[in-house]
């Protein structure tokens, strides 16, 4: 059984094979003898080649939150079959709202050419302002909201086409 995870733009494949009450995990060209024991719901002791490690796990759909050694790692489990070709390299044209709040300023218009890092709009949430900046240089196709609109987390604020001359990596 093979799993693939994505963290900070990198993908991590792991091959798992059952071996009695243990598993053999293959990562790259290395093999590890691994097992896990649940202490209480969500809390585990993982054994890696005889070395015990404490972790806590919460998952939703493809999202994984794992606590280990004082840090929480948030990452994604990639589905076995990739949808619509290359997931790793493709850049979404949709700029979504990272927060729910009120749109207090719109700095971009349909058809406008923008530089990477340029402010596109400002959202106010919890009495603080958050700037939405262009993640890459390109052309604004459509601005979906106007000043004064209430926006929810995850809605598509702007559709933006990436400038062509920069090569998209891993394609």
């Amino acid at each position: 059984m093979e799993f693939q995870y994505e963290y900070a733009g990198k993908s991590y494949p792991v091959k798992m094979k059952r071996d009695g009450d243990h598993f053999t995990a293959t990562i790259g060209d290395k093999e590890y003898e691994v097992s896990s024991k649940e202490i209480k719901p969500g809390f585990f002791i993982i054994n890696i080649d005889g070395k015990p490690v404490k972790v806590s796990i919460a998952s939703e759909g493809s999202q994984r939150h794992i606590f280990h050694a004082g840090a929480v790692y948030r990452f994604t489990k990639l589905e076995g079959r990739k949808r619509g070709g290359d997931q790793d390299g493709e850049i979404s044209p949709e700029i979504t709202s990272p927060i729910s709040g009120k749109l207090v300023k719109v700095d971009s218009t349909d058809g406008e050419e923008v530089e990477a890092g340029q402010s596109l709009m400002t959202i106010e949430a919890m009495k603080m302002e958050y700037q939405i900046k262009a993640p890459y240089g390109g052309k604004v196709e459509k601005v979906n909201f106007k000043e004064g609109d209430q926006v929810d987390i995850g809605v598509v604020l702007i559709i933006m086409e990436k400038k062509e001359e920069e090569e998209v990596k891993e394609e």
Binding site: M1, F3, Y5, Y7, A8, Y12, V14, M16, F23, A25, I27, Y32, V34, S35, S36, E38, P41, G42, F44, I46, I48, V53, V55, S56, I57, A58, S59, E60, G61, S62, R64, H65, I66, F67, H68, A69, G70, A71, V72, Y73, R74, F75, K77, E79, G80, R81, P98, I99, S100, G101, V104, K105, E124, A125, M126, K127, M128, E129, Y130, I153
Partner: protein, 500 residues
Amino acid sequence: MIKKVLIANRGEIAVRVINACQEMGIQTVAIYSDVDEGALHVHNADEAYPLGDPTPSESYLNIPKILDIAAKSGADAIHPGYGFLSEREEFAEACVKAGFIFIGPSAEVIHGMGDKIEAKRTMANAGVPVIPGFTGGDEDGDDTLEQACQRIGFPVLIKATAGGGGKGMKVVETMEDLNSAVDSARREAMSSFGNDQLLLEKYLEKPRHIEFQILADNHGKILHLFERECSIQRRHQKVIEESPSVVIDDDLRSRMGDAAILAAKTIGYTNAGTVEFMVDKNKDFYFLEMNTRLQVEHAITEMTTGIDIVKWQLRIASDEPLTLEQDEIGQRGHSIECRIYAEDPEQGFMPSTGKLRTVDVPHGINIRHDTGVKEGVEITPYYDPMLAKLIVRGEKREDAINKMKWALSNYITLGVTTNVPFLRAIIAHEAFASGDIDTHFIDTYFKDWIQAAELPLEVLIAAALDDVKQSGLSKDDDQRDEAHDAHSPWKSAGPWRIDS
């Protein structure tokens, strides 16, 4: 003595006040908006009443609704906590008019200190040192903001006259940036405080934010409970506080304490309050503002002085005299507080929302955890994203740092992104250890901080082991990935699973 207190707040501070009341045999009344029905303060209070619509203006800022509940519940006093209505003079006034004791200073004092321009002017006249700046008042003549900037010299700090908590504050480095910063500050100020008046001041070099806790009774006695260093800030909001401050010696401590008491005396302050100062690299100190309420970080003062500030608020409001003496109050050991925020330090400290799935907090000697949330609650975008305060005390600063490092390393929250790993990185930083800190600390050392570029092997294996087990529960072979999302058995228990 007060018999029944309505707590006009939510979160950890409502819980803190409820606990103090209950210890003193005072009845407690909680209020809650629709999204807070399952919150800890609702559960802990003796009675709780709904406010309905979670929008702040319809709930925790709705004065008529709150006073109505106070009357209905038979409360005789109202504690405003911090934030929300705590520094609104009209609320203090309305409470008194409706026949309730407002646990805090008078409406007049709140008014005097709420206007930052007036507050500075009052303090300068009383002989408390203030930062050079521009207020738009008579003493500035006909200067415009631009002319004032040229006179004071860049960088300058723009602040909302009615501000607080970093809202409406901007640093401006050059004349070109002035206009857009002013516009943005005015908008934030207007939406937060209903008043877009701004003030400018000189941005100090290596500035530290150091404040003094004050207690003043209704009989003219004023004490200070020493300093808190609150220089570690992001977006002009405090993140880590400690007491005592490494930069303050006995002489400076006594001069600043005197200045704080003078400030409180000048305005006829009563109840608990905080006089905030900036201390620059020459150890000159300047009055910044006065917070006419209980502060988030009051706990570190309680840890080092052993004095319960909230209980004294209740006694003072009941007209009891302060029985403490200044020369009997001392600082023992060193205390540090970390504010646990639901936010993502890797995304510009953007507040995060979601359901808290796992909360497992460290316990031990001299570890205090003040929180208003519990496992299973939904963190909504309606209110301030602070989830909890983790407070430790050690014999020496180094002990306190080591204890905080340990406590943060064992502080587990899953489901909602928090700043815990970021706090741990700060506490572990050598500049923090050496005490070389100022209000630019986070920008200086943690500008583009990320937790880790790589996924550790242990985490990767843990994920794979969990997924292997999950696959065994649903389908019988490797094909289960496809059906996983739609048919998973934990769907019925809510979107997240924490077991396997």
